[in-house]
């Protein structure tokens, strides 16, 4: 798995994400060189960036090394029907997108590591989709859908046992790993 900071000041967030991917999924994960932010996807009416367009672009023109790539951006992302999204990916796809824009604490009382933990949660969630995991009904699972940061904070950094099982099977399929690796 590769993590690409697409924009400035995203290196520490990229390291945190890579650390969580390695720690939780025991997958080799490296932080790749920083690239420019995908400003081409700006929607001038909404003053936001179209997540679908960015994914399509990176899917075709992005880095070609790792099996799965997580791009970190500091842009306000949207999908046409939604006001915003924290991250975006395609089921079973190769590229995931995570935005730190709405995840970083806005109030001084909130410590900065909260924001990084949220980024890690969204990255692991989107990585789950890349391994074809669907949303989970369990509110204590990382694959549970969280539409706002308040809900995201209540979700622990854990996959439920069903999603762990699905993830393990997906990793065996994708990477031909031995069982019980995850």
């Amino acid at each position: 798995v590769g993590v690409v900071p697409a924009g400035s000041d995203l290196l520490s967030a990229a390291k945190v994400v890579a650390g969580h991917v390695t720690g939780f999924l025991q997958l080799a994960c490296q932080v790749l060189p920083e690239i420019a932010g995908p400003t081409f996807a700006l929607d001038r009416q909404r003053h936001q960036y179209n997540a679908g367009r960015i994914i399509d672009f990176y899917d075709q023109c992005g880095c070609s090394g790792p099996a799965k790539v997580i791009y970190l951006v500091n842009l306000d992302l949207f999908e046409p029907v939604f006001t915003h999204v924290f991250g975006e990916s395609r089921m079973g796809g190769r590229v995931a997108l995570v935005s730190v824009h709405r995840l970083m604490p806005t109030e001084p009382a909130q410590p900065p590591h909260w924001g990084l933990e949220r980024v890690a949660k969204v990255a692991l969630h989107e990585l789950g989709h890349l391994f074809a995991l669907t949303h989970c009904d369990d509110t204590g699972c990382l694959m549970h859908f969280a539409g706002d940061s308040g809900v995201l904070d209540t979700i622990p950094l854990l996959f439920c046992r069903y999603c762990r099982q699905s993830l393990e099977e997906a990793l065996i399929r994708y990477c031909r790993l031995p069982r019980s690796r995850v």
Partner: protein, 465 residues
């Protein structure tokens, strides 16, 4: 656990359709898309959709027009209206027309999750309600006997009147007309409802076994009688005994049963001690019982004892107006019992079913609908799905030779006249000799023992529905 739904996105903008599709697929739902109202209706005809997200402004058919059509033709589908041009009036209008919810684009992702959860909950409750309603109908009164024809209405009117007394009832009607259901309805409407309803198919048991089953036996009464056993006449105590195909009971046992009916006492096989019994007897037969006809083996005294109240259930071909109701009923029933969702019928199919004679009556309708549903390729049954109902050798394009028409008409008249050739000849306006010649020429088979003037139309021994 949340339901996995089949969702259709109806929007003229492909970017919106794809955005929705991606999001719903991440939640494990099956997603279809349609670029217009007309395309959405076409897809709805082909397969059942649980939930539609419909854009209110589309070229051609608008979202509200589509909502109208879906509410009228596909009431099981829920519709959520989406729009970028929100106004209270539009929202109120959509909800009045039957929309389940209303979303203003763009919306927060968790709003969509809430809408989905609400609709899943509604559908769960609706499914539970329908299941319980169906279950309740099965166990209560006679709501599950289908028929709005005049003939069936007369039967329905008789049920509460008959239920009020304990007089024996004889139900006659062809196989598959619903004799057992009528018997159950009489039992359920009577004061005996809390006590057992015991059905016995007399044609299915050998005489010795039937005797033991009805009267019971004491230990050692016969080889293998290792312990005493109560018969159904004792078990039914206070309830209703339903003897199906009563014409199959041997004359010897008719005497024994007659004694029980008169004395209200039963003596177990091998015992000398009578036991008091209290039950109501309902008998049924698909034959035309006539005690004057020796070959039928029906004793006159027994026949008149069981035939205090006579209810004749008309065959389906004489109440064809009930066929659409029956088909609809069985489609709904199958929806409860199978995972396959087939719930519609084209007019052509309905016409075909109404034109068919249904020799197996309601049971045949149920079997035909089940077969068509199991083999159906789409949610709507067409006449092709009922092609197996075409009698063999007859072209399915509706062109039938004059000889075939004559043969079928003679068969029908003979059946209507209980195979009585003299009466059939009168109805046909020809003499008996000519009719006999035609019967021989066309090779029309009549049931054994029915040839002659007092014949019967025996369509088999199946138990009543």
């Amino acid at each position: 656990m949340k339901d996995r739904l089949c969702i259709m996105i109806v929007d003229d903008e492909s970017i919106v359709r794809e955005s929705f599709k991606r999001w719903f697929e991440k939640s494990g739902h099956r997603v279809l898309t349609a670029a217009s109202g007309a395309e959405a209706l076409r897809r709805l005809e082909a397969e059942p959709i649980d939930l539609l997200f419909v854009d209110i402004k589309m070229p051609g058919m608008s979202g509200l027009e589509l909502l109208d059509r879906v509410s009228a033709d596909f009431p099981d589908a829920s519709v959520v209206i989406i729009t970028a041009y929100g106004s209270i009036d539009t929202a109120v209008n959509a909800m009045k027309k039957g929309a389940s919810d209303y979303l203003l684009k763009p919306f927060k992702p968790d709003q969509l999750d809430l809408v989905l959860e609400k609709i899943s909950q509604q559908r769960r409750l609706s499914r539970q309600f329908n299941y319980l309603k169906g279950h309740l109908e099965q166990i209560t009164r006679f709501d599950n006997i289908i028929g709005r024809s005049e003939a069936m209405q007369e039967v329905f009117a008789l049920i509460p009147e008959v239920a009020a007394s304990s007089a024996p009832v004889l139900l006659t009607g062809e196989t598959g007309t619903g004799k057992e259901l009528i018997a159950k309805a009489i039992h359920a409407t009577s004061d005996r409802a809390p006590c057992p309803f015991v059905p016995i198919n007399c044609g299915a048991l050998p005489e010795s076994l039937l005797e033991s089953e009805l009267f019971g036996h004491v230990k050692g009464a016969f080889t293998g009688a290792e312990r005493s056993s109560k018969g159904f006449l004792e078990i039914v105590d206070g309830g209703t005994l339903f003897l199906d195909e009563v014409g199959e009971i041997s004359p010897r046992m008719q005497v024994d049963l007659l004694r029980v009916l008169q004395e209200h006492q039963v003596v177990r096989l091998g015992s000398r001690h009578p036991v008091d019994v209290d039950f109501r007897l309902i008998s049924a037969t698909s034959r035309q019982l006539d005690p004057r006809r020796v070959e039928q083996g029906v004793r006159e005294d027994f026949f008149y004892r069981i035939n205090v109240i006579h209810i004749d259930i008309p065959p389906l071909r004489r109440r064809k107006e009930d066929i659409p109701l029956l088909v609809d009923h069985f489609l709904k029933k199958l929806a409860h019992h199978t995972s396959k969702r087939v719930d519609r019928l084209t007019n052509a199919a309905l016409m075909q079913l109404t034109a068919y004679d249904w020799p197996g009556n309601v049971r045949e309708v149920e079997n035909a609908v089940e077969r068509a549903v199991v083999l159906a390729k789409s949610r709507t049954l067409d006449n092709g799905d009922f092609a197996f109902l075409q009698p063999s050798g007859i072209p399915s394009d509706g062109r039938t030779s004059l000889k075939e028409v004559e043969r079928r008409y003679i068969c029908q008249v003979l059946a209507d006249c209980n195979q009585n050739v003299t009466r059939a000849a009168e109805v046909l306006g020809i003499n008996r000799t000519t009719l006999h010649k035609k019967i021989n020429r066309y090779g029309i088979q009549r049931s054994e023992g029915t040839k002659g003037d007092g014949g019967r139309n025996d369509r088999g021994r199946g138990s009543g529905r």
